[in-house]
Amino acid sequence: MDWLLEPLQFEFMRNAFGMAILLGILCAIVGSYLVVEQMSLMANVISHAILPGLSIAFFLGINLSIGALIAGVLSAFTVAWIRQNSPISVDAAMGLVLSSFLALGVMLIELLRTNRIDLNQLLFGDILSVQSQHIVQTFFITLAIAIIVIIFYQPLLYYTFDPLGAKASGLPVNWIYFGFITAVTLTIIASMQSVGVLLVIALLVGPASTAYLLVKELHWMMVGAGVLGVFSSIAGMYLSYYLDLPSGPAIVLVIFALFWVAFLFSPRQGLWRKIKALIKHQ
C-alpha cells in the first residue's frame, strides 16, 4: 500500500487528489445532463469559445473565470439563436460558433498582447499543478451546483426528459436552459486547469456515458458517473506520477478504458451479451 500513500506526502499530490474528487463529482452531475440532453458537443463549443473571454479579462486585469463565463454563455446563446431563426442545423451552427469564437480569441491574444496566457497549459492542463485557490473555487462551484440540482431535481428531470411537456405545464424553460448553460461553462472553467480545453469534454461525457449503459434512472447515472469519474481521475493521476506521463491524457484514457469495459460487458446493453444471444439463437 506504500505506493498509494507515498505520493501524498507532496502538497501538489494532495491538491491533485482533492481536485480529482471534486471534478469527478461536478462533471458527473453536469455531464449526465449533457449526455441525456444530447448536447455533448455544446460542451466542446463552450470550452473553445471561452478563449476571447480569457483574453479580454486578462487585458482588463479582472478574474479570468468571469471573462470565460461570459464568453462561454454567450457562445451557447449564439448557437441557440442561429438555430431558432434560420433553417441551419444545430451541428453547423455549433461548428460556426466554435471556430469563430476561437479565431476571435487567438486574434485578441495577439492584438491585446495578452500572450502571456499560457496556451499550452490552457489546451492540455495539468492536474499536478493545481493550486489551493483553484480547489477552493472548484469546491464552491461543485457545492452550488449540487445543491441546485438536489432542490430542482424534479423540474430538471421533466425538462430534460420531455421539454415540450415541461413547457406546456408552465416550467420556465428559457431560465432552465440559461442555468444549464451556466453550469456547463462553470464546470469547464473548473476542469480546464486539470485536463485542459481539449480534453475537458472527456471528463464530462465519458463517465456519464459509461454510467448511462449501466443504470436505468438519472440519479443513479449521476452517482455511477461520480464514482467512475473520481476513480479515473485518481488512477490517471497515479499513472502520471509513476510513469511520468502527461496527466490530462492519462486521466482521459482511463475514462475511455472503463467505457469500453461497460460497452462490451454491461449486463443490460453490453455488446458481449448481444453476441452471446446471437450465437445461442443459431
Binding site: V36, S86, P87, L157, F161, S169, Y212, K216, W220
Partner: protein, 239 residues
C-alpha cells in the same frame, strides 16, 4: 368552454395554420383529422404556447388558456420522446405531481397514491420499475396516458395516440376517454387516421392548414370534404 379564434401560425414564412376558429364543449370527445403535414400538431402546440402564433386567441372559460396551464394535460407525439432517456415507468408518471403541488416539491405520499391509481387504470402497475425503452409501443403510449390522468387536468390534448399501438391499448384508451367524458372534461384528440373508431367522437374537425369542415363525424367525412383534405378519393374508414 374552450374557444379558439383566428389562430394563425407561420414557420419562418411558411403558413402552417390560417385563421382557425372552433370551440370545444366540455364533456365531448373531439377529434382533429387531416393528412400528414396538415398542421394538427402545430394546432395543439400553438394552443399551448409551445410555438408562437402570429394571430389569434385561445380562451378557456373566458380567460386566456395560457394562464391556466395547470388545467391542461398534453401528451406529445410518441416520436417526440427520447425513449432511451434513463427513467422508469413510475417516474414518468410521477412527473405529473408537479402540476398539482408546484414545481419545487418532492413527491408526497398522496402523489404516490395518485401515480399508483393511474398506473393501475392503464394496466401498467406490474411494469412500474421497467425502463421505458423496454416497453411495446402501446405500453409506451399508456405510460403517457397514465401521466395525463395523474395530472388531474380539466383539458386533455393527445397527439396521435393511436399510432402503432395494439388493440388492447386502444380499448383501454377509449374506455378511459369515456370515463373522462362522464367527468365533463374537455378532450381533444389529433390523428391522421381515426380508422374504425369514428363513431366514438361527438365532433370532428377536418383540417388542412385551415378548417375544411367541422361537426358530427357523418357530416364532416363526406367524399367531397375528404377529397379536399387528402387530395385523393378513398375509403373514409381507412384514411
Amino acid at each position: 368552454m374552450l374557444v379558439v379564434r383566428d389562430l394563425t401560425v407561420h414557420y419562418q414564412g411558411v403558413c402552417a395554420l390560417e385563421r382557425v376558429n372552433f370551440s370545444l364543449e366540455s364533456g365531448q370527445l373531439v377529434g382533429v383529422v387531416g393528412p400528414n403535414g396538415a398542421g394538427k400538431s402545430t394546432l395543439l402546440k400553438s394552443m399551448l404556447g409551445l410555438v408562437t402564433s402570429q394571430r389569434g386567441s385561445i380562451r378557456y372559460d373566458g380567460h386566456p388558456l395560457i394562464q391556466q396551464r395547470q388545467k391542461v394535460a398534453y401528451v406529445p407525439q410518441r416520436s417526440q420522446i427520447d425513449w432511451n432517456y434513463p427513467i422508469t415507468v413510475k417516474n414518468v408518471v410521477m412527473l405529473a405531481q408537479m402540476q398539482q403541488q408546484g414545481f419545487w416539491q418532492f413527491p408526497t405520499r398522496q402523489a404516490r397514491q395518485m401515480v399508483k391509481r393511474a398506473l393501475m387504470q392503464v394496466d401498467l402497475w406490474d411494469l412500474r420499475d421497467r425502463h421505458i425503452r423496454e416497453l411495446s409501443g402501446g405500453q409506451q403510449q399508456r405510460v403517457f396516458l397514465a401521466r395525463s390522468l395523474a395530472q388531474q387536468a380539466n383539458i386533455f390534448f393527445f397527439d396521435e395516440p393511436f399510432n402503432g399501438v395494439d388493440q388492447k391499448t386502444k380499448e383501454i384508451f377509449y374506455s378511459i376517454l369515456q370515463e373522462l367524458k362522464e367527468q365533463n372534461k374537455t378532450l381533444l384528440i389529433v390523428s391522421h387516421d381515426l380508422g374504425d373508431t369514428l363513431n366514438y367522437y361527438d365532433q370532428l374537425i377536418l383540417i388542412n392548414r385551415s378548417i375544411l369542415a367541422t361537426g358530427l363525424p357523418k357530416q364532416v367525412l363526406t367524399p367531397e370534404n375528404f377529397y379536399q383534405a387528402y387530395g385523393h378519393p378513398l375509403n373514409l374508414l381507412s384514411a
